[in-house]
């Protein structure tokens, strides 16, 4: 129905009538019809809903409307039942009947269909309680998702068109401009130019004709804020433009929308028609002398047409190419007339400012960035969708609170803002308040509001390549720097991601990038290099890693590796190869294939932290392969068979290498060097070989006989292990230097770090590593009473579980962060809890109390604070929350360090953590011929990196001693091809047997019992063989 709205009173009449009508309804159901929900079939849901209401005779009681985007695009279709504000998600047609019959008829909320909060693992029925919504402030989006976008009455019922009516009745042009100026509103298109000042310039420009233009050419990949506003609240934009038109003196407006937004074009078009037919647009609006009309211009989807001069050329029907400014649009714009251009979101803020006042608006935000900003959250984030947040909220809060954090337990790596013109913000800057100036300072920009979250699996080089490809394709082609510069930058990036990068490429990218920024004609070109320059700034090593080592740590640049799992393995083990050999029943080949790169399959099959599994492609389908257990299966199968195992050894070279430390790194190095024909002596101060494997890892995780067997195989190739020989005491380091052609030091970290609180010198304060060492080497002893372990890593969990096995009555673990932050493996934590360990999170010890003997620990509760430079939230003590726990023993296990008593500290270069400084490529220390690797060079790390270092050291030592650095890894093993019958069925991991918690508490018997052959083969067949690319 069309009205004839000629004066302000008419608005109230329409509003009152509408509200009266609404009073007749008990419920109002909002069905989200944003683009995301449409694609998940919300229209069918709505039809079924209407049908269900009809069948239940609820048509008179329930009013159903379609709204614009509510913002939760990932969990659509969504509906809201008002007035309660119950939020149902992922609503299927079947659910609708249930909701109608249970909720609307009986009044029972169906909780399991309401919003599920991943963090708290709970359903939250009411919109107002959902963190995602609770922390937003909706100004630009105030009607979006709340009202029927197609209804003029409903818009008027929320005071629509009241702002323009008031303005026309009461305000001069200057009045309006002053209101906007005072509000502090800055342009939401990206550059952040103050809207009021722009309008003032427009007002002051002298011309018989002026124009106001709404830029709805939203082109950033992943951004859909403007689209959502246009689709969800088109009248608001019309009204905002009318106010702008009035204040600058324009009688005509254009909305420039890209053709890819047909829904926005349609909905805005209908709204304009309604407004025009009701007398809101046209001549003498609200009885004033102001006349205004709007026209939609559809752009062909060229990104550059978001640039204002190009946009105007396009509106004029010309090729959308930018022109040098000045003249600025307010001087000479559309059709050579003064023109003011703002983007959709800027206009969306106008009506609320006029209705509520400048002061109301400027209460939100920071000093220089007022109000709110709408963001489209995309990428690796739990809550993808549209959010509106007050300026000044930190990036961390947006990502982790509103956005719900990073899915699948992955780590946050960086956020990209501003799309192809923007840059990235790394985890070090999660505390940065989001406003124009802070983002610019970091080399990113606010942009129009695209915010892409990226997790650890994102390759920054590849990301830069993606954006460069985008701008390169979107360049208009006018100026040389943009047309050719971006192309050449793209070509360099493509080369790097293919493993064909050259030394100097990074510098060339920087040179090109800064030149393009300096010289390109328009904003597109001037900002095109930003994603590249920003990633080089923050992730230069990642570029170097691609170029120098041909390695993509994120496992994205697939031309550089066989498979993501192999790429993730520090020792470079051919994972898909041995998995497929297991599947083919060729277990010995599988074992041999592993041993080519890792001499400890049985050990790693038990204790490896398996970074491979977190990159397994199968995760995208159901669950990653149980790679570590398959490795164990292969190794156990062979070790059990007792078949003689013979490694091929090259003839003796007549050169000697000494290795200090018989841990995994030293033994690995020894093994590969011996196979190359070197004479290798390993010196170990402990009475057993294996290092941390022998004394640090409890028997229930790694049985001693398994360790012994694999060490035996290493001795079989000629490695001589000398136990109970301490270098520096039993044999001098200088002697080694004289007697051997080269030395590899791999002494690990064996000293527990203190936590630096009072009372650490009390008896019964037993440091983690010492505790484990004593138990492992000197045999078990008994504990009783309460044992507290401090820390959250592997050593802490091992110590706690050992304490259980030694008879402690109660074992508690005190950890200062949350459970999910614990560095120990999830399985260890799970098994520990099964065994009766209590974990207190968010607590920290402040002092150990006792006379001589420890009696109590004083702790303090911790709370989350801002983000640390590692991207994790810091914890700080809650003052006054101190409490005491009575304990009989405490095992601090926070960290270890190394010490090198046998080398003169003046002779060797070490870091401030006491570790060796070694050459990145050769692992050589500053002493000629002396190499170092494993924890003694890296600091506390995991077994597999120690093994990788040992292997790399063997290569480097061979090269140093005149070899070619190629290891002797035996014969080639043929890998089975993928099977033809490759129907992929979803299936989670196949199960493995475990010792029952009650039984295992009492002994050191191995907890995990390994795969049964059938399950092992079945599990291995889950491999998607992503190494086989055709």
């Amino acid at each position: 129905m069309d009205y004839n709205i000629t004066e302000i009173g008419k608005l109230k009449e329409i509003k009152d009538n509408y509200l009266d009508k609404m009073n007749n309804y008990k419920y109002k159901i909002l069905v989200c019809s944003g683009a995301g929900c449409i694609s998940s079939n919300c229209h069918e849901v709505k039809n079924v809903l209407l049908e269900a209401l009809e069948k239940n005779n609820l048509k008179e009681k329930v009013y159903t409307i379609e709204t614009g985007c509510i913002g939760t695009c990932d969990i659509g279709p969504v509906i809201v039942i008002n007035p309660e504000g119950v939020f149902y998600t992922n609503v299927s047609s079947e659910d609708v009947y249930k909701i109608v019959e249970e909720h609307l008829v009986k009044g029972n909320i169906i909780k399991e269909k309401t919003y599920f909060d991943i963090k708290s693992r709970k359903n939250i029925p009411y919109l107002k309680d959902i963190p995602y919504f609770a922390q937003q402030v909706k100004i630009a989006l105030k009607n979006c998702g709340n009202i029927d976008y197609s209804s003029l009455e409903e818009y008027i019922s929320v005071d629509g068109y009241l702002a323009i009516a008031n303005v026309l009745n009461n305000d001069s042009q200057e009045d309006v401009i002053n209101k906007i100026k005072n509000s502090g509103l800055r342009g939401r298109g990206g550059a952040g130019f103050p809207v009021g000042i722009k309008w003032e310039a427009g007002m002051k420009a002298k011309s018989d004709q002026k124009y106001i233009v709404c830029n709805a050419d939203e082109g950033d990949p992943g951004a859909f804020m403007d689209r959502s506003i246009l689709e969800g609240d088109p009248h608001n934009i019309i009204e905002g433009m009318m106010i702008g038109g009035y204040s600058i003196g324009a009688s005509k407006g254009y909305v420039y929308i890209r053709a890819e937004y047909p829904l926005a074009v349609e909905r805005l078009g209908l709204a304009i028609d309604k407004a025009r037919n009701s007398g809101i647009l046209g001549n003498n609006i609200f009885g004033s002398s102001f006349s205004f009309d709007l026209e939609i211009r559809i752009g062909a989807g060229a990104f550059v047409c978001g640039e204002e001069t190009a946009l105007m050329a396009s509106v004029e029907g010309k090729r959308g190419e930018p022109k040098q400014k000045p003249p600025f649009p307010f001087q000479k714009g559309l059709f050579e007339k003064p023109t003011i251009i703002n983007n959709v979101e800027s206009f969306a803020n106008i009506v609320p400012i006029i209705l509520n006042g400048s002061d109301w608006f400027s209460q939100y935000g920071t000093k220089k960035s007022k109000g709110t900003k709408v963001f489209a959250l995309a990428g690796d984030i739990v809550n993808t969708g549209i959010v509106e947040i007050p300026m000044g909220v930190t990036l961390g809060e947006v990502i982790f609170n509103i956005g719900g954090g990073i899915p699948k337990g992955k780590h946050f790596k960086a956020a990209q803002t501003g799309g192809p013109s923007g840059g990235c913000i790394t985890k070090e800057y999660l505390n940065t308040p989001i406003d124009y100036d802070s983002l610019t300072k970091l080399g990113a920009i606010m942009g129009s509001g695209g915010l892409i979250s990226m997790d650890e699996d994102t390759c920054m080089v590849d990301m830069a390549r993606f954006f460069m490809e985008f701008v390169q394709e979107e360049s208009c082609g006018k100026c040389v720097p943009c047309r050719l510069g971006t192309k050449r930058m793209l070509e360099i990036l493509e080369r790097i991601t293919k493993g064909e990068g050259k030394i100097g490429d990074i510098e060339l990218l920087e040179e090109l990038g800064s030149m393009i920024k300096e010289t390109a004609v328009c904003g597109l070109g001037q900002t095109a290099p930003n994603p590249v320059l920003s990633t080089i700034k923050y992730f230069r090593e990642e570029y170097e890693e691609h170029i120098i080592n041909n390695h993509c740590d994120a496992g994205v640049c697939s031309e550089m590796f066989l498979s993501p799992c192999q790429n993730a393995c520090p020792a470079d083990v051919n994972v898909p190869g041995y998995i497929s050999l297991i599947a083919a029943g060729r277990v010995r080949d599988a074992y041999n294939l592993i041993r080519k790169d890792n001499p400890f399959p049985a050990i790693c099959g038990r204790v490896c932290t398996h970074p491979c599994e977190s990159k397994c492609r199968r995760m995208q389908l159901d669950e990653s392969l149980s790679i570590v257990n398959l490795k164990r299966y292969a190794a156990d199968y062979i070790l059990k068979s007792e078949e003689p195992y013979m490694d091929l050894v090259f003839p003796k070279k007549g050169k000697k290498v000494a290795i200090v430390g018989a841990g995994p790194s030293g033994l690995t190095c020894a093994y590969y060097l011996a196979r190359l024909g070197y004479e290798v002596d390993v010196y170990e101060e402990q009475p057993i070989a294996g290092g941390v494997l022998a004394f640090g890892i409890p028997e229930y995780r790694l049985p001693k006989d398994i360790l012994a067997k694999e060490i035996k195989l290493i001795e079989n190739v000629g490695v001589k292990i000398h136990l109970n020989i301490e270098v520096g005491k039993d044999i001098q380091f200088e002697e080694l230097k004289n007697d051997y052609n080269s030395i590899y030091i791999a002494t690990g970290t064996q000293f527990s770090r203190k936590i630096n609180i009072p009372g650490e010198d009390l008896s019964n304060v037993y440091y983690g590593l010492d505790f484990l060492k004593d138990v492992n080497i000197n045999g078990d002893f008994k504990l009783k009473g309460t044992v507290a372990v401090i820390g959250g890593g592997s050593t802490a969990m091992d110590a706690a579980r050992v304490a259980v096995r030694l008879g402690a009555d109660k074992v508690i673990v005190l950890y200062r962060r949350n459970l999910e932050d614990m560095p120990a493996d999830v399985i260890e934590i799970k098994e520990g809890i099964e065994e009766g360990i209590t974990i207190h999170t968010m607590v920290s010890p402040t002092q150990f109390i006792g006379e001589e003997k420890l009696e109590e620990i004083e702790c303090v509760d911790m709370k989350l604070s801002d983000f640390g430079s590692d991207g994790r939230r810091k914890t700080i003590p809650i003052k006054g929350s101190e409490f005491k726990i009575k304990v009989d023993m405490v095992i601090p296990a926070v960290s270890q360090y190394s010490d090198l008593p046998f080398i003169d500290k003046n002779e060797v270069e070490t870091t401030r953590w006491g570790t060796f400084v070694t050459s990145k490529d050769t692992l050589m220390t500053n002493i000629e011929g002396v190499f170092a690797g494993g924890d003694v060079a890296r600091g506390s790390d995991v077994v597999i990196t120690a093994i990788a270092d040992g292997k790399n050291a063997a290569r480097a030592i061979d090269k140093y001693l005149g070899g070619n650095g190629i290891l002797n890894t035996g014969e080639e093993i043929e890998i089975p091809k993928t099977s033809e019958e490759s129907d992929i069925l979803e299936h989670e991991r196949f199960s493995m047997k475990y010792l029952d918690p009650e039984d295992r508490k009492k002994c050191f018997g191995e907890v995990a019992l390994g795969f049964h052959k059938l399950n092992a083969i079945a599990e291995s067949m889950r491999c998607l063989r992503c190494d086989r690319r055709s």
Binding site: R319, Q324, G477, T486, E518, V521
Partner: protein, 596 residues
């Protein structure tokens, strides 16, 4: 006046000038590339960037207006590095086979490279385009060489108003050409060749005719006749280092003889003939109009083939307004293959006629079948002024040391009126000199016979000529003020034609030359052709006219002899067959596309 600092030097300048203009005025070299004075100012290459104190980015000096107090550095490390990198980028998308390029040693990009001193090719990437459009008889586009400076786009759109060249596609894939990647012969290109003059590289050029001309010369069975257009003699010298405006008529004739042409005729001769034919055609049309018979006025000159193609495309309904006279080059060809062939008792098929023209459209004109006689083209090959210069060099002739020679008769003598066919307003003035005298029996009563209001480079020039004291047979013209208009460059033509279309044209006679300034700045003339050089060439042409004793076409004794011996009378039967033609309604290509 403003004051600014460039490279630590205080400089005073007029307000409103660009930084580049001011630098030029003060002999500060800012390398630039896409910029071309009065033609192109789009700032696409960015080579001319300079550092302006306080500005966020480097500024393109060709666009940015200087402001009082600006502090500018044109040669800072940053500027130099940037400029070099920009050049490297352009080079990375340009063939590096200069030795086999026709612009070798005559290429602005090559010259810029000399300044840049590139010592390695750092960017070996994909090349954006590789396509040769040799579809038209006049102009060849070699896209691999195009560096998208857009000078041709500006000339075609802004100066000529034809608008067939524009950027297509976007980004790296951008090419310059007709819409939808159509070829030149399928669109309404006039073949004026203004684009070939401004192209800094070998991307747009006249279609090469040198090979076939050499072949004809070396063919003993052919009698190879050459004719040269009036504008060539005022510009050819520039190719040999002479200052613009040096007339080299005599040396040119000697060179042509030395090359081995059998007869050296002058297109000027048929320019005189054109005046007689066209003058009488005009008088006839006026007569018809006065006697209320059907007469199409204004009559518009038809010497310029680019212009002819333009009207056929853009105003096809107005082709009746065109004079039916063939252009002088075609008239000469037609006469050489008939009148002269008879004289030397030769079969026209054995005669090969070469025209040296300041024009690329002339290459197209000779292919128009409506201009054929007895199934043979009037002219067999057209060389541009630039091509002739190459030919002379190729023949090993030391041009500067040549003696002067004279054209051969009977088609070699001309009046001063013929010379001024080379400049805008010249055809009209030549016609007025003759028509006035034919109608009144008196010499045109103007200083040095010049019709001053139609001399010069204004876009549209007009004059009124009162007929006073007409001879008896022209009494009906007594008291009439003949209104004439003259324009050069197609934008002006467009305006005059719109007037005609709307029925508002006050003129009786209009002269249109396709190229701005007339044939002296034709598309086949030496590069560069700019306003300063144009002026010099114009002065040379008027000098050639004024230095002649015979200043009026109807006084040319060989013309009189031609009528006497062969044509009998203007507009007679033979004239009709040999010297007049008709035109084709072509329409703009958008319309044709719609029909497809």
């Amino acid at each position: 006046m403003i004051e600014l600092t460039i490279n630590n030097k205080k400089i005073k300048a007029k307000e409103g000038m660009t930084i580049l203009d001011i630098a030029k005025e003060n002999n500060i070299l800012i390398p630039h590339f896409c910029y071309l004075e009065n033609v192109n100012k789009v700032g696409s290459c960015r080579i001319c960037v300079v550092e302006v104190e306080g500005a966020k980015n480097l500024q393109a000096s060709c666009i940015v207006e200087a402001r009082d107090g600006m502090v500018i550095k044109t040669n800072s490390e940053k500027v130099k590095k940037t400029r070099k990198l920009l050049y490297e980028l352009m080079l990375s998308d340009h063939p590096r086979d200069c030795l086999s390029c026709s612009r070798n040693q005559n290429c602005e990009f090559q010259k810029l490279g000399e300044l840049m001193q590139i010592d390695e090719f750092r960017f070996e990437g994909e090349k954006s385009k590789n396509f040769i459009d040799s579809s038209s008889p006049s102009i060849t586009r070699e896209l691999s060489k195009c560096i998208l400076c857009r000078r041709c786009v500006e000339v075609c759109n802004e100066i000529q108003g034809v608008g067939i060249l524009s950027p297509q596609n976007r980004g790296f894939k951008t090419i310059i050409g007709p819409a939808n990647n159509l070829q030149l012969n399928t669109v309404n290109c006039t073949y004026c060749g203004q684009c070939t003059i401004v192209c800094p590289v070998g991307a747009i050029q006249e279609k090469d005719s040198l090979k076939e001309v050499w072949e004809a010369i070396f063919d003993d069975s052919k009698r190879v006749i050459v004719q040269t257009a009036p504008a060539v003699r005022a510009a050819l010298g520039e190719e040999f280092g002479y200052a613009p405006g040096t007339l080299v008529t005599g040396k040119m004739v000697s060179a042509l003889k030395e090359i081995g042409f059998n007869d050296i005729f002058d297109t000027n001769f048929t320019a005189d003939l054109t005046i007689l034919e066209e003058g009488h055609e005009f008088l006839k049309r006026v007569e018809s109009a006065l006697s209320k018979e059907k007469a199409v006025l204004p009559m518009i000159t038809s010497c310029s083939p680019g212009w002819i193609k333009y009207i056929e495309h853009t105003f096809p309904d107005l082709i009746e307004n065109l004079s039916t006279c063939k252009s002088p080059q075609m008239m000469l060809g037609a006469l050489a293959k008939s009148y002269y062939a008879d004289k030397i008792e030769s079969d026209p098929k054995d005669i090969y006629i070469v025209s040296v023209m300041p024009c690329t459209a002339k290459k197209f004109e000779i292919t128009r079948e409506e201009l054929y006689n007895d199934g043979n083209p009037n002219v067999d090959a057209v060389l541009t002024t630039r091509e002739l210069a190459k030919m002379i060099k190729d023949a090993g002739i030391d041009f500067k040391s040549l003696e002067d020679s004279k054209f051969d008769n009977p088609l070699g003598m001309s009046s001063g009126a013929a010379d001024i066919f080379a400049v805008t307003g010249g055809v009209m003035e030549a016609a007025i000199r003759t028509v006035y005298e034919v109608v009144t029996g008196r010499e045109l009563p103007m200083d040095k016979l010049h019709v001053t209001p139609i001399v010069g480079f204004d876009q549209i020039k007009t004059a009124d000529l009162l007929i006073d004291g007409a001879l008896k047979e022209f009494k009906h013209l007594e008291g009439i003020a003949v209104k004439v208009a003259v324009t050069s460059g197609l934008k002006g033509a467009h305006k005059l034609l719109e007037e005609i279309k709307e029925g508002k044209s006050p003129y009786h006679f209009i002269e249109v030359m396709c190229c701005p300034g007339g044939c002296i700045s034709g598309g086949g003339q030496p590069r560069p052709t700019n306003n300063e050089i144009r002026q010099k060439r114009l002065e040379a042409i008027y000098k050639e006219d004024e230095d002649k004793e015979m200043r009026k076409s109807h006084e040319n004794p060989f013309i009189l002899k031609l009528y006497e011996e062969y044509l009998i009378e203007p507009l007679g039967h033979k004239s009709h067959k040999l010297l007049h033609t008709k035109y084709t309604k072509r329409g703009i290509f958008n319309e044709r596309l719609k029909k497809l």
